[in-house]
Every structure is written in C-alpha cells, then in structure tokens.
C-alpha cells in the first residue's frame, strides 16, 4: 500500500492544487489531477523520509482557522505599531520551552508564531527543546509564552503527536 500510495493525504491535496492551478473542474482535469496527485508523491517518495500522521484532522481544521484569524488581527496590531511612534516600541526576546517533538509540528508552531501578532520565532535550540521568540512589543514575555503554549502548541500536540 505504501509503495503504491505513499502519501494518502498528499494525493487529494495535489489534485485540488492542480484544479486550482488550472482554474477548472473539468473531468479531464480531475483525472489528470488525480494521476499527478498519485504520481508525484510516488516519484518524490525518496524525499519524504518519514510518514506524517494526522491524528485529529478536525483539530487541524480548527487550528488553521485560529491561526488565520490571528493573522488578520496580527496585521492590525503590527500596522498600528509601525504607524505609531517607533521609539515607544519595547521589543523583547522570549524563550519558549517546547513540548512538541516532531519536526513538522515544531515547524508548524514556529510558522504560526511568526504569522501571528507581533511575534517571530527566531531560533530553535539545537536540542529542539527551546524556541527563541522575538516580540515586537512585549512587556511580559512570560505571559506570551503561556499564550502560545495554550493557543497553538496544545492543539498541535493533539494533532500530530500520540499522547
């Protein structure tokens, strides 16, 4: 099975992307999309060393929506900061101890942090236990850490890691 369909999740994603690319849901394109969605993972199987498991797909959806909303909010906050007096900014670094272990989960967390309000994941410690975060305007880094762990990390752990 794995040899024939190495990434069951990737095939539909690629098919959808194909249809998006072509701006078409013609039957021909769907067939072609499915073929490509099947063939490309097969061809690039060697570039995927480990399999990705999604334990809770619904939580993933929730997570995505949360992040998207945060992005919009973040933009307004950042915009205000930029338009405001730059001298009043109080940027800070904060260290986030990680509970996540999988590469993908950590990467997604880092991504989300960067995409959302005034924060930026700057460095991952080489043992992958700490994430250094830069905040645009943060007086209380500890509170920030707590928020992130609550809002994102918990969800990601549920989605990607068997508890």
């Amino acid at each position: 099975m794995r040899r024939l369909l190495p990434h069951p999740l990737l095939t539909p994603i690629l098919t959808v992307v194909w249809l998006l690319l072509n701006n078409s849901i013609a039957p021909g394109q769907i067939v072609l999309g499915l073929i490509l969605g099947w063939a490309i993972p097969l061809l690039s199987i060697r570039f995927w060393p480990d399999k990705v498991y999604v334990y809770k797909p619904l939580t993933l959806m929730r997570y995505i929506i949360v992040v998207l909303i945060d992005i919009v909010v973040a933009n307004f906050i950042v915009a205000r900061r930029i338009l405001g007096n730059p001298d009043r900014l109080k940027p800070a670094f904060a260290k986030l101890p990680l509970d996540l272990t999988s590469d993908l989960a950590i990467s997604l967390l880092a991504n989300s942090i960067t995409l959302t309000p005034g924060t930026l994941s700057a460095r991952l410690s080489s043992d992958r236990k700490y994430l250094l975060i830069h905040a645009l305007n943060e007086t209380d880094p500890d509170a920030l850490i707590v928020t992130i762990k609550q809002r994102y990390e918990r969800l990601l752990k549920e989605i990607f890691e068997k508890c």
Partner: protein, 938 residues
Amino acid sequence: MNLLLISLTPFIGAIFTAAISRLGRLHSAWAAVVVTSLALLLLLPLVPDVFAGQVLIQRFSWIPMAGLDVAFRLDGFALLFALLILGIGLLIVIYARYYLSERDDMGRFYAYLLLFMGSMLGIALSENIIQLLIFWEFTSLSSFLLISYWQHRQESRNGARMALAVTGAGGLALLGGFLLLGEIVGSYDLSVILASGDIIRADPLYRPMLILVLLGAFTKSAQFPFHFWLPNAMAAPTPVSAYLHSATMVKAGVFLLARLFPALSGTPEWFWLVSMTGLTTLLLAAYIALFKHDLKGLLAYSTISHLGLITLLFGIGTPLAAVAGVFHMINHAIFKASLFMAAGIIDHETGTRDMRRLSGLWMFMPYTASLAMVAAASMAGVPLFNGFLSKEMFFTETLLRTDEVWGWLLPAAATMAGIFAVAYSLRFVHNVFFNGMPVNLPKTPHEPPRWMKVPMEVLVALCLLVGIFPAITVEPILAVAAASVLQAPIPEHDLAIWHGFNPAVWMSMIALIGGALVYLNRRPLFRLHYQLISHLEFKKVYNYLLEQLFRFSVQVTKALNPNSLQRMVFVFIIFILVLGVSGFSGGEVLLTGHRELLPVDGVSLLVALVLMISAVGTVFLHKQRFVALILLGAVGLGISLIFIKFSAPDLALTQLSVEVVTIVLLLLALYFLPQHSPTESSKLRQYRDLMVALAVGGGVAVLAWAVLTRPYETIADYFLANSVTGGGGTNVVNVILVDFRGYDTLGEITVLALAGLGIYAMLDHLHLTGTSHDASGRFWDHDMHPVFMASFTRLLLPLALLVAIFILLRGHNLPGGGFIAGLITAVALIMQYLANGVTWTQSRLPANIHSIIGFGLLIAVSTGLASWLFDHPFLTSTFSHIHWPLVGEFELASAMAFDLGVYLVVVGATLLILINLGLVHSMTLLPKTKKHSRKWKH
C-alpha cells in the same frame, strides 16, 4: 623527349638513395652515381635537336586559372646548364664518396645532394618562371640541408640559416618580381616573356619588377651587399662547396640574368644596377679573397668576385659581353670546382684549412698540387688555360665605353680586379704547396685515394683543353647556349688564344705582373688590411640586425599581448566603439524616427529607477561581493518586470527562474572565492573605464532610441497568423520556439547540455576547501540544515513539481513551456539542496544525470526525425485534437514531445552543474583528498 622525367629523376633518386643507405653506407654513393648517370643518359638523346636550334618544350596543365603550368624547356642555354649540373654533379658524387668519413651519414648526404641536383636542373629546364621559382627556392632549402649537414657544428647551423635567410629573401623578392613580370606580359612562360622585351621595358611596373628580380639574382649569386652568406656557407662539406658554391647554385643568379637578358636588359636601369653591382662585387671580393687565411674562404671570395665579373658582363649588356658571360660561367665552374676539390683533399689529408699552417705540401702530394696549380692558373687568367679566354673577352668588353667621361673607370677596375685575382691565386699556390714546411698539422698528409683525384683530373683536363683548343671543345655548345641567351644570332667572335696585341692583352699582362708584385709585397698590405678594414664584416651586421629583429619582436609581442584580460577586453570594446561610430558615417543619420511614442507611467518610471539604481549600486558596491549579489537580485527582478510590462510573460517566467539559479551558483562560487575585491585600479584607470563604459552605454541607448522611434515591417505577422492553424498552439512565442524555430531551440538545449557536460568535465578532480568562518572571522553557524526549512521545503517539492508540470503542459497555448518547467523543477530540487544538503539530496536523485540529458536530447531529436517518416523536413510538426471519453477533448502535438525533451535537458543540465559543484566541496570532507588547501594570504 621527357624533360619532366629528367627533372624528376634526381628527386626520385634521392628517396631511393636515402632508402638504400640502410643496406650499407656505400650503396648510396653508387645509387647516386647511377641516378646522376641516368639523368645524363636521358638528356643526351635530346642534344642533337638542341644543337639543331630547336627549343624543346614539354607542358602539363596544373593550375590553369593562375597561369601556372608544369612546363619544361630545353634550349641551348638550358642544355649547357643541365650538362654542367649533371656532369660536375657526377664528379662530385664520386669525389664525395671518398671525402666523407666513416661517421658521416652517406644516405642523408647523397639524398640531399640529389635533391639539390634536381632543384638546380629544374631551374635550368623550367619554361614557366613560377615553376623556375619553385625550383629556385628548393635549391635554397636543399642547400640549407647540405650546409647544415654537420649539424653538431655551430658554424654549420649558423651558416646554413644565414644562407637560407639571404637566398630565401631573394627568392621572395624574385616571387614578387616574377608576379609583376607575369602581370606585365600576361604569361609566366619564358617563351612569351623573352619575346616581349619591348613591352616589358615600356611598362610602368618595369622598375619595381626589375629591382625585385635583381634582388633574387644578386642574393643567390652572392653579389654585394648580399655576398656575406657565401663564405659562411663554407661550413658545408667541401664537395658541397665545390658543387653548390662554385659550379651550380651560385650560378643560378647569373643564370637568371642571362635567361632574362633579352627581356630585361637594354635600359639604363639595367646597365647601372647590374654593372655597378657586378663591378663592386668583383673588386671587393677579389680584394678580400687575398686576405683570407681559410683556404675555402679564399676560394669563396674568389667565387664571389668571379660572379661579380659575370654579372658585370651581363650588365654591360652588349651581345658579345653576354657571350663572354656565358663562357665565363662554364670556365669558372670547371676551374673552381676543381680548386674546391683540391681544397677538400688538402683539408681531408691535413685536417686543416688554415693557410698559416698549411705550407710545403708539394712534398707530400705533388700530383694533387700540380692539378691545383693548373686550376689556379686558370683562375688567375693565365694564358693557355680556359680562364684566360673568357677574361680576355671581359677585358675587351670593358673597353667599349672609353669614349665616355667615366669610361676609363671600367677597364681600370677590371684590371685592378685582375691584379687581385692573380695575387690570391698566387697566394693559394705558393702559400699552400711551397713557402716552407707545414706548421703543426693534425695529420701527416699524403696523396689521396685514386678515385678522389679522378674528378679533379677530368676538370683540370677540361681547363687545358678548353684553354688550348677552344674552337673545337667549347665553341659549339657556347654558340647554341649564347644564341638562346640572346634569343638572336650570336655576334661575330673568335675563341682563339691569341688575337694580337690589343688593349685586352695589355690589361692581362698588367694583371699578371701586378698580381705578382702585390703578392710579393703582401706583408705590408696584410698589416694595413688588418688595421683598417678587417673589422668591417657584413656577417656582424647581419647578426646584429637579426638580434635586433628578435629583440624588437619580443618587445612588440610583449607589448601587444601582455596576457592581460582587461587589456584584451578594453581593446575589444574600443574596437567595437570605433566600428560602431564609423557606422554613423556615410549616410543620413536620423536619430529620432516617426513612430508614435508611448507615455511614461509612474510605476514604470519607478521600476526603471529601481533597476538602474540597483545596477549602478552593484557597480559601486561590487567589492562587497555579497551585497552586490543582493542588488543583482533586484536587477533581475526589475528585468522580469520590464518583460511583463512589455507583453512578454514567457520571458519574465524564464528570467525569474534563471535569475535564481544564477544567484545560487554565484553564492556557491562566492563561498570559495574571496569575499571582497581588493582595490587595484588607480583613480585614473577607474575614470578611464567609466568613460569607456559611458560611451558604450550611450551608444546602446542611442541605437535603442533610434530603432524604437521608427516604424518597421516584420515577418512577425506570419507567426501570429499561422500559430494556431500551422503550429497548433495559441502561445505564439512557444510555437515559435518548438515549431517555427524549433531548430534554434534544439541548438539551445544543446548549449545547455554542453554547459552541464562541460562543467562536469571541467570540475573533474577539482578540489576546493571551504572556509570555516566568514569574511569577518566569525565561525559558521552550527545548524547545517534548519529544521523548519527542511520540513517546509519537503512540502514544497511536490507542489513545485506540480507547478512545473502545469507550466510544461500549458506552454503551447499559454505562457510556459519546457524551459520554464525544467527550470522550476530544477529550482524545486535546488530547494532540496539548500534545505538538506548535497549528500541527502544526491542520494535521492537518479544516479545518472548524464542520461537524463541524453534522453532529453534523444527525445527532441527523435521528434524531429520522426517527420522524415512522412517525407517532411526535420522538425516538421503535427498536432491533432483527440477526444477521450470522460476527459474530453485535448490536444496532442508533436511539439509537446519536443518540449518534453527540452524539459529533460534543462533539468538534467542544471542538476549536473549543481551536483558537481556540491561534489567539489564534499570531496574535501574526505581527509585524503585534502591536498589543495586554501591559500589564505592574498
């Protein structure tokens, strides 16, 4: 009649002789005898015809349009010369067999000698003057080989090269002269030329032609001031000197004067140039000959002097003088050859040629001495010997112009030369054979072997026979020879020993007595000579000039080609500028055309400014290489935007992809290269470069403006009209690429493939060691492959591949195509390299990238070749719309297969380049290959 065969015999014989020498060294001597005799035998049957007054001509067509035929001619003069060449040649061949020592390579010697003989024969027998010139130059070459026969001796090598240079130069001048002569006459045939004397003399080209021809003749015949090579050629083995430097080769010059006498003579130019050169040479050489201590040196200068005499005779230009000239050629050949043989015997038997050491040889070799004395007497012009006869004719001819103001000069000079001739002949005889005992000779001399003397005996006998019985011995051949030289009946003349007491006899007597007196008083003369004149050596001048030539050449070459790229580029750019500017001349220059212009919008202005400022910024910051690269990225982006703005989406896509790969490659290179450029150019230099750059940039701007502002007609409408119907695609650019001009594209992917393969080949075995820290000394970050990057780029790979396929498939109808798709694929893989490194990525790619390129090319070519099956030209495309249930209608075009080939080559080539660069560094991870460590100090 086969003159070709006669001429070729020695050449074929030379090869035969060289080959046979493997069987034994003496075999080649006999072979040479056989060859020479064979040529003589072939010639003899023709003699009666010639004596009957016929001119035999044999002609083969060669290069008709250039007027070059292989054409041979046998008339009296040619016959005389041929007989001399072969006759004396035969004697020399025999003589040399005994002269050469055990160590000498006889095969080589005889091969060269026969080569020379053939060349000389060719000169004598040529009807076509260009053919004559070919043989002429060949005599120079074969004489080079003969003079340098003893290669280990420096004087041989130098003498040979000098002879080659001087006679070669003459040959080249002669080529020029003959070309002009041919141009004047309209033919290179001697027969025509000899009949066109009046036309030639009247032509405006006569003067340059004459000078060039005479240069040829004078250099070959060692006339002043080109005489100096001949004494230096004496480094050759003596048989060679006897043959080349007395009897034959040096005669080629005077032969030419005689041959062209009817065509060229009879003008003041001829008279003054030829006679004055001859006179100077005659006198000067006779004088120098007296003071030479080297036996062969004396003979060499004597030869020069006698050649001057012959030249003078032809310069005087009367028919009788010409007859005398021909006669003296014969006589000189005979006595001088025998004298050289004598010198050779002496050298051979005593081991030296220095007359200060040679004395009293009469006691050791009386027989040889007697022979030599006869020949010397002939040289001195003593009555009863052949030399006397022609010399007396000469004296007679010098007296023709005594009624003119300077008319007495000629006989006086002739007599003076005669005095010196007698003196040096006396010296030769007295100094060598008498005058006390020899000094410190390397060998004890004795008579030479029998057959070494025979050739000399024959020649000396001829001296006497001709001298005493001229009418029956030499008159017949002289008559036909002179007649063909003059191209007219020969004038009344009488070859007798005694003509009564005429002025010539008095001149001879003065010469004989004067010569004896000079010789007797030689000591003060020698002293005077060595104090005043001896340092005036032409050889030194020649060597000095040669040295200056080499020095000058080295300087010029160094100055012109200093191995500097900037110089090269600078010169090229200036050249282009000059060319470009000169294009503006010669016609109306209308810089601004009549086309309606487009307005500038703000965004375009902004993009243009960004682009230009980035470009200028790159130049300003080029020493900070990394920053320059970032700015280059902005330039690339700007270019892409311009492409988009001006309706070229395909180009924008290509540019964007190419830009990234280029930047990746530059970054890779920058890692190994220094991070900064040092300041090396002076302010002045920078200013100069700036000016040049502005000039070129301005030129480009002006040209662009001129073109952009004028309307034009183009073939483009055809492509727009036929793209869909003929090429089956709506993206005209792509249809042009894969169909209308698919052949270009085939070439283009070949270029890309070549780049991949070339880089692969170039980087083979190249090892570069990277740095452990950056330019400011900071160690590199430890995190080789940041996790986020790795995980996301992995996700991006299938997406990018999908996009690539999308671009590939739609290319025919919408912007895209094989190139862009290939580059996107390559970039997607580069992303993997960036995120995961070479080793990781490499192990996941197909092992043989070369085959990907190969397959790509194969697919592209096969697509093109498939059209042959339908009897269409290469790359003829076809397409059709296929209806497939469920999927619907879609198009299949052969061009798409072609595009697939393109795609594969692009992917393959790009990867091959990267992989190699990756390997260059990864090699260094292995400790054993860590040979070339990076040099730090710059």
